[in-house]
């Protein structure tokens, strides 16, 4: 017997790939590990219809809609629960797959009311979409449909209305309350064909994010009371924006028609609010429709007269000029706002700089702590304004030797002129004592959309835009700079705060009337520490952490 051959040199281990190759319908595609077949297919541009799968909820494989064929496995498989492996060959268009989808749609529809025309979900209903895409035209079911007497069209919480006749038992809402909200109000009751979703003993579904249960509901079984039957969804236009409710700055879509805001919906941003919104923020949408200040006004003695906006701005400018002459720029006080954009707060600060005034500040408006779950962590917000951090970053703190808001409110300093860049939200605005302190100035100018004791006390009031009516950026509690876009124009003569501020700057000899928020952002990039990388592209793509801050990893 000959000596054993020396062992063949071990083949070098194949280079470790950070991606996996999945073949969809014959087309290979590279996907990152850790996602499932539904998500992988999406990357390949293939839609695998599904109901129970939600990227942020546990995978339960219950609806059986996502069935696909996998080479080497005789049985058809649920795409959502199939672990992904390198080299998996998936078929999504075979006869078997088509038939099983059609079968599943038939099962789902047999007990579903066929009243899409009066359903609130129509237009964003996955059942309707999938029936259209994957169902058969005709069902052979002509038994009596399942009724849920007592469980149809019933409010199960302050915001959510449930209609169990429409439920497809996907458990997304149950899992949302359990796994994200952590409150677990919802459960399946009974079993088999009698299974329904409800709360314990009719207790309200009242967690801070309850309307998200309606968001995750793929059909019209859970809807929000506030939106029910107000508008057909396809009539609405979506505009990317940022929630004005607190300094977490959840990403929203403002949905409007004919310049009326109908609702806010969460806009996916894994690093901030992921798929969610809190009820408080979500239902601020209606407040955007308020308009009480629709004209510029100027007080002449005891008269308040309407004015055109340029004239009212000129009046402010002339008061500032004459005060600079008599008392110097340090008799003037500029008050920015956590409700205004970076661009607007920046313009305000630049105007103060231009005239050499260091008295500037922003209202500190603490709110109850709000919590939001990003993809990876809980974020807490504690300011009523979305842009508290941004206002500070833009320099709205007293300059060296300058005075701040507390000096005024506590009576240590009485300015000659007070310019309040946004009076609509400031908590001070309806506090008689605080208004009295601000009114202690010889001349008080404000921009506002809604009326309050501060606007009533002012000498000049400028009509300003709502969040939906302007564009800009906010910096949230994490230091993330995020862009919001204009859904529609303010009703003339109201203008965006930045436009009003630019008019004032030009009247005082600084700035260019043709600047846009984008042009202002160019200056912010040059001048404000940490903002030099906040490019327009970055803003368009979900916002950017300003420099020097820890960027949480794991966020997509």
């Amino acid at each position: 017997m000959s000596a054993p051959a020396p062992p063949a040199p071990a083949a070098p281990p194949p280079p470790k790939k950070d991606t996996l190759t999945i073949v969809f319908d014959g087309k290979p595609i590279e996907v990152p590990p850790g996602i499932n077949l539904i998500e992988a297919a999406k990357l390949a541009g293939i839609e695998i219809p599904h109901f129970c799968f939600h990227p942020r909820l546990s995978v339960v494989g219950q609806c059986r809609m996502c069935l696909v064929e996998i080479e080497g496995i005789p049985k058809i498989q649920a795409a959502c629960t199939t672990p992904i492996k390198d080299g998996l060959a998936v078929k999504t268009t075979t006869q078997k797959v088509r038939e099983s989808r059609a079968a599943n749609m038939e099962f789902l529809l047999i007990n579903h009311p066929l009243d899409c025309p009066i359903c609130d979900q129509a237009g964003e209903c996955k059942l309707q979409d999938n029936a259209f895409g994957y169902g058969e035209q005709r069902s052979r079911y002509d038994e009596r449909k399942r009724q849920y007497a007592g469980y149809d069209r019933t409010a199960i919480g302050p915001h959510v209305v449930a209609d169990m006749t429409r439920c497809i038992q996907c458990t997304r809402c149950i899992r949302f309350c359990q796994e994200i909200a952590g409150t677990g109000e919802l459960t399946f009751l009974d079993r088999g064909g009698r299974t329904l979703v409800w709360t314990h003993d009719g207790k309200p579904l009242a967690n801070d994010w309850s309307a998200c249960a309606a968001d995750v509901c793929p059909v019209g079984a859970l809807t929000t009371k506030e939106f029910r039957f107000r508008r057909r969804v396809w009539d609405l236009k979506k505009t990317p924006s940022v929630c004005p409710g607190c300094n977490i700055g959840c990403n929203i879509s403002i949905e409007d028609r004919d310049s009326v805001v109908y609702r806010f919906l969460p806009r996916l941003n894994p690093a901030v609010n992921d798929y969610w919104l809190c009820d408080y923020g979500r239902f601020l949408s209606e407040s955007l429709n308020a308009r009480e200040i629709s004209k510029a006004t100027v007080r002449e003695g005891s008269d308040v007269r309407d004015a055109i906006v340029p004239a009212a701005v000129e009046r402010i400018a002339s008061e500032i000029r004459s005060t600079i002459e008599t008392d110097g720029p340090s008799a003037i006080f500029f008050l920015g706002s956590a409700h205004l954009s970076n661009e607007e707060n920046f313009l305000l600060r630049k105007i103060a700089d231009h005239i050499g005034c260091g008295n500037r500040d922003v209202v500190v408006d603490r709110s109850r702590v709000r919590r939001m779950k990003s993809k990876t962590e809980w974020i807490e917000g504690d300011h009523a304004g979305a842009n508290y951090a941004g206002a500070r970053d833009m320099g709205l703190s007293p300059g060296p030797g300058g005075h701040g808001l507390t000096d005024v409110l506590e009576g240590r300093w009485i300015p000659q002129i007070v310019v309040v860049a946004d009076a609509s939200f400031a908590a001070a605005a309806d506090d008689a004592e605080k208004v009295g302190r601000l009114r202690g100035a010889r001349f008080l100018a404000v921009a506002a959309r809604t009326a309050n004791s501060l606007t009533r006390a002012a000498d000049v009031v400028l009509p300003a835009a709502s969040l939906a009516q302007k564009e800009g950026s906010f910096t949230n509690v994490q230091g993330r700079v995020q862009w919001f876009q204009r859904a529609f124009l303010p009703p003339p003569p109201a203008r965006a705060h930045w436009e009003l501020l630019l008019l004032l700057g030009v009247a005082l000899g600084w700035g260019d009337r043709n600047w846009t928020p984008a042009a202002v952002r160019t200056q912010i990039r040059e001048e404000v520490e940490g903002y030099d990388e906040v490019t327009e592209q970055e803003l368009a793509g979900g916002g950017l952490m300003k420099k020097g801050l820890f960027v949480s990893t794991g966020a997509v």
């Binding site: 049985k75 099962f107 038994e143 497809i168 038992q169 079993r191 088999g192 064909g193």
Partner: protein
């Protein structure tokens, strides 16, 4: 000729439940032998593998092989053993007998199995209706603790084990092993996504083995008399050991019968030691060989029909829980299928769309035909619905079980369905008889 009973050897004896009679019959000697005689857990598993023992709960999976799926390294997690005493498959009543009459036989097997699995905590998941069975079992467990067969350092071997009786509360699906696990965890008994399989991630996130009552009883005897002895009983090495058959329906002597695996169906129905023939001398029309979930067989198909895993698989049915339900010629097949459909509609857990929606639909269409309101297209509709529910597209095999009686009865008795639809009444059965008289 009837062979010596093994599993039922002590059943029917006086005070067969008590530990003193069990000890007098040599009980717990096997446990002593294994725990103190130098056996390793691996050797026990090997012995069980060699015996060819296949699970008696329904699926017939080789028990030793299943035990081998528990990972070597459990990452610090305990291993759990769950005895499946949920016995709810219509037609099945063997586990009830084993527990009510000879609980120590099962308990000894359970402790031996636990030793093989290095498991220190096991539960008996017993269906809620077995109030008496649970009491008998609890008494047996208490006795075993007293005598040192359970608890710390059993028989000085260093091996410790605790058993807890856990009562269900009325849900057939909790017999499915992952439904059972969910239920034991204090949840609705909704079967889980697999993989991961219980042997890897089971109850409380730990490796878990689920075994049927009868399987555990068999383990006692495999270790008592050796794998070779066990493997030689029965039709062949893949269908080995003693087996309990649950015979019910239109026979003269229904009951639980023990025979070597592979007993001929005809022998069970007609043999003197078993069913002793059909009641009132009627003819066989159909037999369900493995509980409600098994496809029906016709009178022709029960000729040369060994009652074991492979024998029934060859007839496109299954041994299941070995529940043989006999229907005579007066039975209305549509009526029987309707009754079975009612069961599945009532017991579906409801998470999968095809099963939740399909089981009540089948029941409704069948009831309609049974009530004489069937339509021409109904039979085809039943087949269509069934085909849309089956072929393993659901989370557990319940949906496949639910369609088996429908598809098999239509396939084998299509004319009867047709007659029912066309004539709005039964071809046979009590209703037809009544109508014949009143006509």
């Amino acid at each position: 000729m009837k062979s010596e009973p093994v599993l039922l050897a002590r059943v029917g004896r006086e005070r067969s439940q008590a530990i003193d009679t069990y000890l007098a019959d040599g009980g717990y000697e096997t446990l002593r032998k294994v725990l103190t005689g130098g056996w390793t857990p691996e050797a026990v598993t090997e012995e069980v593998k060699k015996s060819g023992l296949r699970g008696r709960g329904g699926a017939g999976f080789p028990t030793g092989v299943k035990w081998g799926f528990v990972p070597k390294d459990t990452k610090g997690k305990p291993v759990y053993l769950l005895c499946n005493a949920d016995e709810s498959e219509p037609g099945t009543f063997k586990d009830r007998l084993l527990m009510e009459e000879d609980p120590h036989q099962m308990l000894e097997g359970q402790i031996l199995s636990a030793f093989a699995l290095r498991c220190h905590t096991s539960y008996v998941y017993i269906r809620g209706e077995f109030f008496h069975g649970a009491r008998v079992l609890q008494r047996a467990i208490d006795e075993a603790y007293e005598k040192g067969f359970l608890g710390e350092n059993i028989l000085g071997s260093g091996f410790s084990h605790d058993v807890t009786v856990h009562r269900g509360a009325g849900a057939y699906i909790c017999g499915e092993e992952t439904g059972l696990i969910e239920s034991l965890e204090g949840k609705r008994g909704q079967p889980r996504v697999k993989p991961p399989f219980p042997a890897v991630v089971g109850v409380f996130g730990a490796p878990t083995i689920v075994n049927n009552v009868e399987t555990l009883c068999c383990v006692t005897h495999v270790l008592k008399r050796g794998a070779d002895w066990f493997a030689k009983i029965g039709r062949n090495e893949k269908n080995s050991g003693p087996k309990l058959y649950c015979l019910s329906g239109h026979v003269n002597r229904p009951g639980v019968y023990e025979a070597p695996m592979g007993l001929q169906m005809k022998e069970l129905l007609f043999g003197d030691d078993y069913g002793r023939g059909m009641k009132d001398g009627r003819k066989v029309k159909a037999v369900i060989p493995g509980g409600a979930s098994a496809a029906m067989l016709t009178a022709g198909e029960i000729e040369d029909c060994p009652l074991d895993f492979d024998g029934l698989a060859a007839k496109k049915s299954m041994l299941g829980s070995a529940a043989i339900i006999v229907m005579n010629e007066d039975t209305c097949i549509v009526d029987a299928a309707t009754n079975l459909a009612k069961f599945f509609s009532h017991e579906s857990c409801g998470q999968c769309t095809p099963c939740r929606e399909g089981t009540p639909w089948l029941h409704r269409v069948l009831s309609r035909i049974e009530a004489g309101e069937g339509r021409a297209e109904d039979v085809e509709l039943l087949e269509k619905i069934s085909n849309q529910m089956g072929n393993g597209i659901t989370l557990c095999v319940f949906a496949d079980a639910a369609i088996a009686p429908v598809l098999s009865s239509i396939g084998k008795f299509r004319d009867e369905y047709r007659y029912h639809v066309e004539n709005k009444r039964c071809l046979v059965g009590p209703r037809a008889a009544v109508e014949a008289v009143t006509a």
